[in-house]
Structure formats: structure tokens, C-alpha cells
């Protein structure tokens, strides 16, 4: 009796209202679908870089779609229309979980692909078109989608085992480290060369050039921080949750962390909302395509 009352006065589960989940899901679905359609529609955007951005947007679309679907299923289950333990619902739930896992893993691989592509663009610029041919791009994309599909099925079938969860967490940490390395290396080298160029006497004055260079470098730092900050803030809480499920299921402190599960899933979904702003919308060509698509629907 005392234990149960203490359990109830412990950490109550934080419930995120369903309309918020639905709102985030629908908004991120619309955004990412727009990106996918824009890349497919505009022939100028049929290049490896935009292909990877499109793949990222496609994975985010699947993630937001499945999460919205799951929220609706839970709503119906609460209302009583769906049976929580039924075989049909469980199979449907498995499909939803598999798709969500696939989209999460796919997002990681897409981030990695985008970072590697940018790295090759900068450091192997002269041979970029020989290294990143259309055939290789298709191969990489096919490999990413196949791997994600296989991973998803495996993860859902064997989710009980800790090994799968450890693999998932290890994938996250490795992706984060590699993305960090690529971008910081590119940033440092860009800074060196921009500083060198700002030092040119023909470049409109030393002081003026230096100030300009510093301002540009500071903005580059802000961009990078935004990129990483969004990735880490949105993904790390969920992964810490997975680690805590495995490591300390009965610890009260861990229990209090686990009570925020819905907030962490909401953060995960909001990353799908923020991704187009970080990757896709920064391209002038893509923004131009959006405007043409949305405002001028008969411009063909």
C-alpha cells in the first residue's frame, strides 16, 4: 500500500497533448513532402547533393507520417474504438514501428551522406563530378534505403534484446562523431582560406577586409552550431532514454527521466520539422522552386 502510494507521488508521466503531436506531424509532413516534390519537379535540382537532401526529406516524411498515424491510433484506442492487445492492432503497430525505425536510421545515413558529399565538394572539387557520378549516387541511395529497411525489420523483430538497442545507440554516436568531424574540418579549412583572402591588399583595405572576414566567420560558426545543436538537442534525449531503459529500469532517478518519454518523442518529431529549414531551405534554387510551385501552379 505504502509503496503504491509512493509510486503515485513519484514522477508522474508528462503527457504531451495529442493536438500538439498532430500539429507537429502534419506540419513536418507538409514541409518535407514539399521538399521532395520540389527536387523531383525541378530538373536543375537533379544532382547528387539535392538527391541526398531529397532522401533526407523522404525519410522525415515517413517519420512524421508514421508518428501521426500512431498518435491517431492511440487516440482511437483511448476512445475505445481500437483494442490495445488485439492481434491485428499489434501487427499494425509493428509495421508502424518498423517504418519509424527505418526513417530514424535513414535520417542518420542521409546526414552522413550529405556531410560526405559536402566534404568531397570542397576538398576534391576538381574531381567531384568523377567521384560523385549519377550512377554512384543512385547506388548509395539504394544502399541506404535497403540497409534501413533491413535494419528496421530486424529492430522490430528483436527489440527485446539489448544488443539491437546497443547497435542503435552506437549508430547514433558514430554518426554524430563523423558529422562533427566533417563539418568542423571543413569549417576550419574554410576559415584559414577566407582569412588568407581577406589579407589581400587588393581586397579593399586591410581593416575593412578583416572585419568583414570576422563577421562572415562568425556567421559560419552560428550555422554550424545550429546544425549540430538541432541534431543533438532533438536526438540525444531519446537515446539517453533507450540507454536508461537498459541500464537502470528500477532506479527512481531513471524512472523520473523515463516519465518524460512523450516530451522526448515530441522533440524527435520536431527535428523532422526543423530539418528542411537547416538543409533544404538554405538553397536559393530550392526556395525559388517552392515559390514557383506554390504561387504559380499553372507555370508548369
Amino acid at each position: 500500500m505504502n509503496a503504491t502510494s509512493a509510486n503515485q507521488t513519484g514522477c508522474p508521466e508528462l503527457k504531451v497533448p495529442a493536438p500538439l503531436f498532430l500539429g507537429i506531424g502534419v506540419a513536418s509532413l507538409a514541409e518535407n513532402l514539399l521538399v521532395v516534390l520540389a527536387v523531383i519537379w525541378n530538373r536543375n535540382l537533379h544532382s547528387p547533393m539535392y538527391a541526398f537532401i531529397c532522401s533526407l526529406a523522404a525519410f522525415n516524411t515517413i517519420a512524421s507520417l508514421t508518428k501521426t498515424w500512431e498518435t491517431l491510433m492511440i487516440l482511437f484506442a483511448d476512445v475505445g474504438r481500437l483494442q490495445k492487445g488485439g492481434a491485428h492492432e499489434t501487427r499494425l503497430d509493428d509495421v508502424v514501428d518498423a517504418l519509424m525505425c527505418m526513417s530514424f536510421v535513414g535520417s542518420f545515413f542521409s546526414f552522413l551522406a550529405i556531410a560526405v558529399d559536402r566534404y568531397i565538394t570542397i576538398f576534391y572539387a576538381l574531381r567531384y563530378h568523377n567521384i560523385m557520378t549519377a550512377w554512384r549516387t543512385r547506388l548509395v541511395l539504394g544502399a541506404i534505403w535497403t540497409t534501413c529497411g533491413v535494419c528496421a525489420v530486424l529492430m522490430v523483430r528483436f527489440f527485446d534484446s539489448n544488443f539491437i538497442m546497443i547497435c542503435f545507440i552506437a549508430l547514433f554516436v558514430v554518426s554524430l562523431a563523423m558529422i562533427c568531424f566533417f563539418y568542423v574540418y571543413m569549417f576550419m579549412l574554410a576559415r584559414i582560406h577566407a582569412r588568407r583572402i581577406a589579407a589581400l591588399p587588393s581586397h579593399g583595405g586591410g581593416r575593412c577586409g578583416r572585419r568583414r572576414w570576422r563577421r562572415r566567420s562568425a556567421r559560419g560558426a552560428l550555422t554550424l552550431t545550429l546544425l549540430f545543436g538541432a541534431f543533438v538537442v532533438c536526438w540525444a534525449p531519446f537515446f539517453l532514454h533507450l540507454i536508461i531503459i537498459m541500464a537502470c529500469p528500477t532506479n527512481p532517478y531513471c524512472e523520473c527521466y523515463r516519465s518524460l518519454f512523450q516530451l522526448h518523442v515530441a522533440l524527435l518529431m520536431s527535428h523532422a520539422l526543423v530539418d528542411p529549414a537547416i538543409y533544404a531551405f538554405r538553397s536559393a534554387e530550392l526556395r525559388h522552386t517552392f515559390r514557383k510551385m506554390l504561387l504559380c501552379s499553372d507555370c508548369g
Binding site: I197, S202, G220, P252, E285
Partner: protein, 230 residues
Amino acid sequence: MSEFHNRSESSARRSDYVWQYEYYDDEEPVSFEGLKAHRYSIVIGFWVGLAVFVIFMFFVLTLLTKTGAPHQENPDSAEKRHRPGSRVADGPQDEHDKVFSRPLLAGSHSYFHFFVNEEDLGHGTHAAEDQRAGQDAGPQRGARGRLRCVGSPGMEDMEEDVEESGGHQPLRELAEGSTTDTECAFLSHFNIPNFVNWEHSSVLGEDDLYEPSVVLEAQAHSRKAHCDIH
């Protein structure tokens, strides 16, 4: 019947991890008595650590931009400008040695030397011709024909820059011969095609109604107006 029970139990257990509403089916009672620290200490510690990490990363990146003043480089480049014809062959190597004298970039040394060799072999004759054409002697035009100076965007919009360079078939645009000014040549001399024209990257960001070729030409014209080279 027992196997049906087992199946539903295992599926219920599996769904505990996913269906958040079912997660707290009282499987193991957690006792909250005798807690030394605050209940949410892991949560607070995690978010504080995350905020510190992000802010630390931002400060490190910003500090990287502030270290090293560009005026240190001025005497060297001024000296180079006064020696017009003597540095066709060894100019690129000297420039690159200065750029890569930092130990941080020891790894990239090999990449850029590879580029330097490619450039010099391919465009040594071009450099000689251009020098005779009466351009400013400091800039080396060795790599002029091979790199995209014009459409190269700036450092603060790295993603946009890299997308622009990757998405618009740089070699084809180069063949059209849009890179003719000396600043462009001097910048291309460093073999960094994408971080060169950062001065006018705001044009690329804001005027997104332009087609890419129009943007390139606008950049070339505006750069000529801004920087008095001749």
C-alpha cells in the same frame, strides 16, 4: 489457449516500449523513498550538460574565427605584388606553404599539393600568357580555367555555397569563360573553389529570383565595381 495468452503477453511487453500509454503497466514498482538528491536530477543534469556542450561548441568555433590577425599576412602579399614576372613556377607552392604552415592542416597538405601539381601541369602556359597580357602581376592565373570563382559563395552560408557549387555543373560554366578578372584568378590560385567569393554571398542568399547564370554575371560585375584592382 495458453499460447494465445503467451503471445498477447509478449506482444503487450513489446508494446510497452513503444505505446507510451501502456508503458506504466505496473510491472516493477519503483520505490521513491529515501532519495538523496532531487527526483529530476538526471533530467536537469542532462539538459544542463547539453546546453553547456552546445554553447561550448559555439564559443570554440567563434574563437577559432578570432584567433590570428590577417594583417600578419599583408607584408608577404605586398612583397609578392612587387615581383611581377619571377614567380610563375614557384608562386603556388609558396602560397600554399604559407597557408599550410599551421600544424593543424598537416593532413590536408597532401590534398592541396596534389591540386597544385594538377594545376601547374595543366596551366603553366596559361599563367605565362596572362602575365604578358598586362594584368596585375601578383595574382597567379594558373588555375583560372579550372575553378569556379564566380559562383562560389561565402563562408557563412556553407551549405548554400556547397549546394550552389555542386548543383550547377561547375565545369560546364567554366567552359563558358565567365572568370576573367584578376581577383578571381588570385583567389582561384589557392585552389579553394567554394570559399572564395564570400564578399558577395549575400547576393546569392537574397536575390533568389535570379537564375544561376544571371547571379554569376551579377557577381562578376559587382565584384569589379567594388574592388579596385586596376
